[in-house]
């Protein structure tokens, strides 16, 4: 049975449909990637899974619980078992690296301070930043901030972790470090990971399964190898990074000729 089951998901922002009937399964212990062009609603999907947004139609079951039918208290209990790494890191800027990682432990447990210190040191050691614990978030590079956020996301030993664009804007060394960390932490902690990204090479290197989203639907699903060999024009365009194809280069609307010749008609 999958850890997350999404069925017939519909979600609108105003009149714009973000999802038009998405079905998706995330299996336990696997790294599942959600990929697609910018603006396809990948981050929105994570917020729907975490219960921060409510779908217009459809269900999202996490560990057998319907996320959007849970009362507030139970939703918060479920979230304690879900980690999330935001694209910006979302570290609390007025407290140190140490206090950021300790934050969920202090909020949700009654552990003595000595034990919190040990746990935080272990989590920071796992991301290679134990010696940066006294720094403030403003003193960290983008890659370091995401590693601290990762340590914080796993502080409560969750069952799953959601990564929102973890590789965006990273230099090659940070990118390599994050790729390794996601894979290693998933294996060593027995997690289920969902990686939302459009960085193809890095995501394909760690994903067990990939869903490609476009136009509010799942276009393709498979392992990295099957997607590489796919005959779908859309998948080829995405995998090979072609500027034009099923996803058009030009924003849909009036043709260039009409725009030049019939400008009055536009008014």
């Amino acid at each position: 049975m999958p850890l997350i089951e999404i069925r017939d998901l519909h979600f609108y922002r105003g009149d714009r449909a973000i999802f038009k009937g998405v079905d998706l399964d995330i299996y336990r212990g696997k790294v599942t990637a959600i990929m697609g062009p910018s603006g396809t609603g990948k981050t929105t999907l994570l917020k729907l899974i975490g219960g921060q947004l409510v779908p217009d139609q459809g269900t999202i079951m996490v560990d057998g619980q319907d996320v959007h039918r849970l009362p507030h208290a139970q939703l918060y209990e479920l979230r304690k078992r879900m980690g999330m790494l935001f694209q910006s890191g979302a570290l609390l800027t007025d407290i140190s690296v140490f206090d950021n990682v300790a934050f969920p432990l202090r909020e949700h447990t009654n552990l003595p301070e000595s034990m919190i210190q040990d746990l935080v040191s272990m989590k920071l050691q796992a991301v290679g930043l134990r010696n940066a614990k006294e720094l403030m978030p403003a003193e960290l590079s983008g890659g370091m901030a995401r590693r601290v956020a990762l340590a914080r996301a796993v502080a409560l030993d969750p069952m799953m972790i959601m990564y929102d664009e973890p590789f965006t804007g990273q230099d090659p060394i940070s990118m390599g470090t994050l790729v390794n960390l996601i894979k290693r932490i998933n294996q060593s902690m027995g997690l289920t990971s969902i990686v939302v990204s459009h960085d193809l090479e890095e995501t394909m290197a760690i994903a067990d399964e990939i869903y490609l989203l476009s136009g509010g639907k799942v276009i393709e699903r498979g392992t990295p190898d099957t997607l590489q060999d796919s005959s779908s024009e859309w998948v080829k365009q995405f995998v090979e990074g072609l500027p034009d194809g099923p996803v058009p280069f030009h924003f849909p609307g009036m043709s260039f000729e009409d725009d030049l010749l019939n400008r009055k008609a536009v008014k």
Partner: protein
Amino acid sequence: MGTIQRLGQWAIGTSERLGRGYLFLMAILAGIPGSLFRFSLVIQQIYSVGVLSVLLILISGLFVGMVLGLQGYNTLVDFGAEESLGVMVSLSLVRELGPVVSALLFAGRAGSALTAEIGLMKSTEQLSGMEMMAVDPIRRVITPRFLAGFISLPFLAAIFSAVGILGGYLVGYGLLGVDDGAFWTQMQTKTDWYDDILNGVIKSIVFGFVVTWIALFEGHDAIPTSEGVGRATTRTVVHSAFAILGLDFVLTALMFGDV
């Protein structure tokens, strides 16, 4: 778009925001019992919004009191009543200027800072991050700040009035030669605990409640961009000023309307 359509859109938008503001306030109030059990969070915020505003309040109160002393003396001396300067200064400050001016200063200094802080926490996904860590940002971040603002403003208004009276005394006695015995005695005789001081305190409690609510709501409701946070900060100061002055009239009418 026609004028009537725009008017309708504005009315719907305003009603919607008022509704959101009301729901936001209900969520804050529901979080108060929890915040009382974690009062250290409130104390941190009292330092931030209250203690750090004291210098501004001290300096402003002193100058307002000194100006009141000068202006009051010039009017009273025409009637040979300059010895009533203490009463005039104290009643002006305790009833009106203390609560109102300190609330306006509080909105400008602490209110705008609260809006910017919450707005930036929203735009940098810190509030979302807390939600995903199963920490309710309303209870963890917003309610302690609300209580801090609500608690701080009456004390700031009291400090403003006290320093203002001292400013009026320094000008009246030190500069203009008003008899200091008359200044203090008349002030103590004519200033009533209930009618003047308690009513002034009630005003500052109401202003503290409203200004902090507006500041926190504007931050929480801000569009999460730098422009959105900037606009929200401006709205906090403008809406707070309107609310303070409007409520001051209503409260004054209720408290002193029959005098």
